[in-house]
Amino acid sequence: MKLSKIYSVGYWEFTEKVRTKSFLVSLVLTPIIMIAMGVLPTLMGLKESNEVKTFAVLDKTTQLMPVIERSLSKKYTFDDGTPMYKFRNLASDLGSEKALDKVRNEILEEELTGLFIIPQNVFTEKKAEYYGLNVANERETERFFSMLEETIISLELGKNGIDSSLCAKINTPIDKKLVKMTPDGQENETEFYQQFFSGYGAIIIVMILVITSAQLLVRSLLEEKNNRIMEILLSSCSPSELMFGKLAGLGALGVFQAIVWMGMAVIAGLGFQKEFITLSNMPLILLFGISGFLLFASLMIGIGSSVTTEQEAQNITGYIVMLAVLPVMFILPISQEPSGTIATVLSYIPFTAPMIMSCRIVLQTPPLWEIALSLASIYSSMILFMFISAKIFRVGVLAYGKRLTLPEIIKLLREK
């Protein structure tokens, strides 16, 4: 194998792909879409709507609602000081059928958001109800019910001769301060969401890097096979030179892509005054990204050279892509417990290791031996796949018009 030829192939793959419009578009759009998909729903969920919501309340005790309403109106207000919620107390009707029918209609017509029912025996039974078209508006119902609890407690305390202002004091939540520690003694104040998005970002960056580069590889192989450029290439270099050249070129493209995205994350961090990714973590994330690419590419190269059409390729690569997407499902348990069993096991499975490890590195950098073991698992399977793919590649790239069948591939592998 001659390095200069590997370089020529790699240089070509990199420079050709990097200037295509689709690559540039995905370079810019992918992070935007990812951020939109991951962050926006949460941000939008967190954001208060600026609409006043009206609830009907049937307070059968008749004594709780005035207190609750007063407290809620004081506690939850818009920037201009007006309360967020309005309540219609149905206490006077004491829940006549007619009044309830009217409320039901108003809820269906969305004039009222919902109806709370506080039964007479709420002090002993501790049960209350909420009716609404949407019962997933946890924020509102939570606020009401916890205020209900607070009010009951303070009333009960009052009955027992304890100052009710004590209740407010007891109920004041603790202001949490989360400080992330690193082995080198740095301590940074952080928030759950910041942690979560950094982990999420690391997984996504590595995943996209792996998927896009590996798919580019299959596509470029198929193009050359279908338009017979392969013949010109193989009359100029050996199959191994071609294979390694492609890996080098597209790997470099992946690194370039990842660096751009991490740069974007740093800039976004500056904008939000938060650090999503620390510079010291970047080399390790890149290392796992590149290892992941090599692993998946070693599979893809065998597939790309054994099939003949884009459809055939997509059928098979679809499954492999799913493997690469799998770790996204584990983001939550891993961000809860970056050194837990799930995270540790997934770090040693070659297909999930690159993404999971990058996530763990961001959240809570695992010990060196774990990183080494994870890399060993990735590279040992990569070498195995590479060996198989190289055999298929030699024959597959010149087999036109007909996909290599499984028996043919097995036969190939047995040949020396």
């Binding site: 020529s8 338009n227 017979r228 036969k411």
Partner: protein, 307 residues
């Protein structure tokens, strides 16, 4: 320059694609490789190109065993045409050139020369897909010759070209031949091969069936027939000894003569009995030779198709 010595290739599945085939190509020589589809031409060429290894036999280039390194001195224009559609001409040629081990400066120089030569001067920045089919073929031809190879393998280089471009290509190939390149020319167009090649190599079912110069291979196919143009009564012709009149068409007749008389005696005899306007031996055409050899084989085994 190129010495191929009894190479064989059997593919998995037991199909013997090439069976003990030999040929040689000298510098400044054009060898026409002919044969029906599926005869083993592509396999033979791929072995010469070192894309696949022969099971038996040897391939020598300039006296040395062919290796991966030999690829740098071979130029190849495959029959199936393909280029990177979205790439520019300049970038594509630079890639193929660098794969052949050329440095940047030489690539630039040679690209400029050949583009100019094929009336594509200054089009380096154009995308391949913007070119006509003929112009794309020119780019492929340039890719094959850019690195100034000593051995050039051209598979159907003229197919799909208009007459003007055919002339352009033929001139270019002739010029490369003058420069001392060894050229292998694969084609189904027997007429162009007949005027173009010095030596012919005919392969069928993996075996070499004919090999030599046109003169050599014609020897076995002469039919001792001549075409006679005459004035006057044809009946005089039928009276010439040792001959048979095969057909008459107006003032032209085909006369078959047996091997007991030579051609010059025959001319004299004909001239004695009637007014002769012209007389010429009928030379067997390459097509005729080709058909009789291949069909001879076909009758034996009833397979193979020739276009």
């Amino acid at each position: 320059m190129l010495q191929v010595d009894s190479i064989s290739k059997t593919f998995s599945g037991g199909f013997k694609a090439v069976n003990s085939v030999s040929l040689s190509v000298n510098s400044g020589e054009i060898v026409g490789v002919l044969g029906p589809n599926g005869a083993g031409k592509t396999t033979t060429i791929r072995m010469i190109l070192n894309i696949i290894a022969p099971d038996q036999g040897s391939i020598r280039i300039n006296g040395k065993h062919s290796t991966e390194l030999s690829k740098d001195i071979i130029g190849y224009l495959p029959e199936e045409r393909g280029l990177y559609k979205k790439s520019t001409i300049g970038h594509t040629l630079a890639y193929f050139g660098s794969l052949k081990g050329m440095d940047e400066k030489t690539i630039k120089q040679n690209t400029g020369y050949w583009l100019e030569r094929f009336n594509l001067g200054g089009m380096e920045k154009r995308k391949v897909e913007e070119l006509s089919k003929g112009n794309q073929q020119k780019v492929q031809f340039i890719a094959a010759v850019l690195h100034n190879p000593s051995l050039l393998i051209l598979d159907e280089p003229f197919s799909g070209l208009d007459p003007i471009n055919q002339v352009l290509f033929k001139e270019a190939v002739s010029e490369l031949k003058e420069q001392g390149k060894a050229i292998i020319f694969c084609t189904h167009q027997l007429e162009s091969a007949e005027t173009f090649c010095d030596t012919f190599f005919l392969i069928n079912k993996g075996e070499r069936v004919l090999y030599g110069t046109l003169h050599d291979i014609r020897k076995d196919f002469y039919r001792n027939e001549c075409e006679v143009g005459f004035l006057g009564d044809v009946s005089y012709l039928s009276r010439i000894p040792h001959t048979t009149l095969k057909s008459v068409n107006g003032q032209t007749a085909i006369l078959e003569y047996d091997s007991t008389i030579d051609f010059s005696t025959l001319v004299k005899q004909v001239a004695d009995v009637m007014t002769l306007t012209r007389i010429a031996k009928i030379e067997p055409s390459l097509l005729h030779i080709f058909m009789s050899v291949i069909q001879g084989n076909v009758q034996k085994s009833n397979t193979g198709d020739f276009q």
